[in-house]
């Protein structure tokens, strides 16, 4: 079954497929249903807009700029080593358990699951105008 689906997928991609394998795939009822689903998915995808949202592009751009800004700092090696040593010394004075607890709590807050919904609805595609009439 999976081989049949893969053969049909490759055919739709324009790849060279073994004709006997194609015959076998088309003889499989489930694979034929799969072929119809492939075509449907491709038609949906063809109508899709590939342009990313401006807000998404802006966020990505800001993030790259931050990384470049950090790279431009170029801290000298002795200074970096001293900073690491100081951080280790300072870190040994902090309660490790408290840190771990704080991180766990932050993690829980970040991925807070949604509340139980009172209703479940479904998104709509833009409705076409329903028009009737004539001469």
């Amino acid at each position: 079954m999976d081989q049949h689906l893969e053969t049909l997928s490759a055919m739709l991609d324009g790849d060279v497929v073994d004709v006997e394998a194609l015959e076998a795939a088309l003889a499989d009822v489930e694979a034929r249903r799969g072929l119809v689903e492939f075509v449907r998915l491709r038609q949906v995808a063809r109508d899709e807009s590939a342009a990313p949202a401006p807000v998404f592009a802006a966020r990505a751009g800001r993030s790259v700029e931050r990384r470049r800004a950090l790279a431009r700092l170029r801290v000298p090696l002795p200074l970096a080593a001293a900073a690491v040593l100081l951080a280790l010394l300072g870190g040994s004075l902090i309660d490790i358990k408290w840190l771990a607890f704080d991180r766990d709590q932050a993690s829980r807050e970040q991925v807070q699951p949604p509340p139980q919904p009172s209703r479940v609805l479904q998104f709509d595609a833009p409705p076409p105008d329903s028009r009737t009439g004539g001469r």
Binding site: E6, P52, S63, P114, A125
Partner: protein
């Protein structure tokens, strides 16, 4: 400067209302303007319009005309008139309306019924009938349901003038806008939004918006469970809210999804965007009313399919016969 022969334009003042009481409690009204807009070779002036502010459930009629055929003042289609709502025409003015229709080259009777007023759109039903003075037996009529955004305009009929003149024709337009009680205009709304893909939920978004203004959201990408090619799905869009007089909130949410294989670094994001390898779905929309603090889950009408490795080539193959994962957004709004 062109002068349009506006025969009569009646400004409607609604003294009584045919809308149900619960519709008036929202404090939100849909303003519909019907317009005969002339089209000249050198441009298109606004034309003549008549309008009315509808509560959901209300209906009324308008009369539009184009061109005149009386012997003294025959004119082209760019000379138009608009009257309405017809139910507010006083008996003294009624003969003028009758004369306007009788001497017009074309006349449109437009019936408008307001169905619903949402946060950013109005749903209405428009039925119209066009009659022609030169061919009285010919009647054109249409009935259509429209969903118009605030400020949107839609042409429902278009007539062409004969060649040779400056006037090219006339368009009959339906224009929509939203009106609300003045006490609602300064309301602020606080939003909590969650995106989920099957068992996966990403950090929720807390946003604020002003009455009637959209605010954008963009969720982190969510891994599609069991996908051989590390497929990720992201949701982004806008949400708009209008607080009603009864305290409930009209909500409009527009969402699009984009999916891609796992992205390791931001540089790859930029490269991916520049090459436009990502594929997005067309936008989906939902209009609904919620109580403050009520959590409402809205499910996308498509299910996300994991791609498993094919047994022959190892390439990811989508398994279309599997049920897939539900993609949804949960919305919670509060008035601040």
């Amino acid at each position: 400067m062109r002068l349009l022969s506006a025969i009569s334009v009646v400004a409607a003042v609604a003294l009584t209302c045919a809308a149900p009481t619960h519709a008036q409690e929202s404090g939100l009204k849909g303003v519909v303007r019907v317009r005969a807009a002339p089209i000249y070779t050198s441009g298109s002036p606004a034309g003549i319009a008549a309008s009315y502010e509808f509560f959901p459930g209300e209906s009324t009629s308008f009369l539009l005309t184009a061109g005149r055929v009386d012997r003294e003042r025959s004119s082209d289609l760019c000379s138009g008139g608009a009257v309405g709502p017809l139910s507010f025409i006083s008996p003294e003015l009624q003969p003028n309306v009758t004369r306007q229709e009788a001497t017009a080259a074309y006349a449109w009777h437009v019936d408008v019924r307001m169905i619903e007023v949402h946060a950013t759109t109005i749903d209405l039903e428009v039925s119209w009938r066009r009659t022609s003075h030169s061919t009285p037996d010919e009647k054109v009529q249409y009935s259509q349901r429209l969903a118009l955004r605030d400020g949107e305009s839609r042409a429902i009929d278009l007539l062409h003038e004969g060649p040779g003149g400056e006037c090219l024709g006339v368009a009959i337009l339906i224009e929509a806008s939203l009106s609300e009680d003045p006490s609602l205009r300064a309301k602020n709304i606080e939003w909590d939004l969650w995106a989920s893909l099957g068992p996966t939920t990403v950090p929720h978004q807390r946003l604020r918006s002003v009455q009637g203004n959209p605010v954008e959201f963009a969720f982190d990408s969510m891994a599609v469970p069991g996908s051989a090619d590390n497929r990720h799905e992201s949701l982004y869009g806008t949400v708009t809210g209008r607080v009603r007089l009864d305290g409930r909130i009209e909500i409009a949410i527009d969402v699009s999804s984009v999916y891609a294989q796992k992205i390791v670094g931001q540089d790859e994001v930029i490269a991916l965007l520049s090459k436009q390898r990502q594929r997005g779905t067309r936008g989906f929309r939902k209009d609904f009313t919620a109580k403050p603090g009520e959590a409402v889950k809205i499910v996308m009408p498509v299910r996300v399919q994991p791609a498993t490795a094919g047994p022959v080539t190892g390439k990811p193959v989508i398994q279309p016969l599997q049920p897939g994962y539900e993609l949804s957004i949960t919305v919670q709004a509060r008035v601040r």
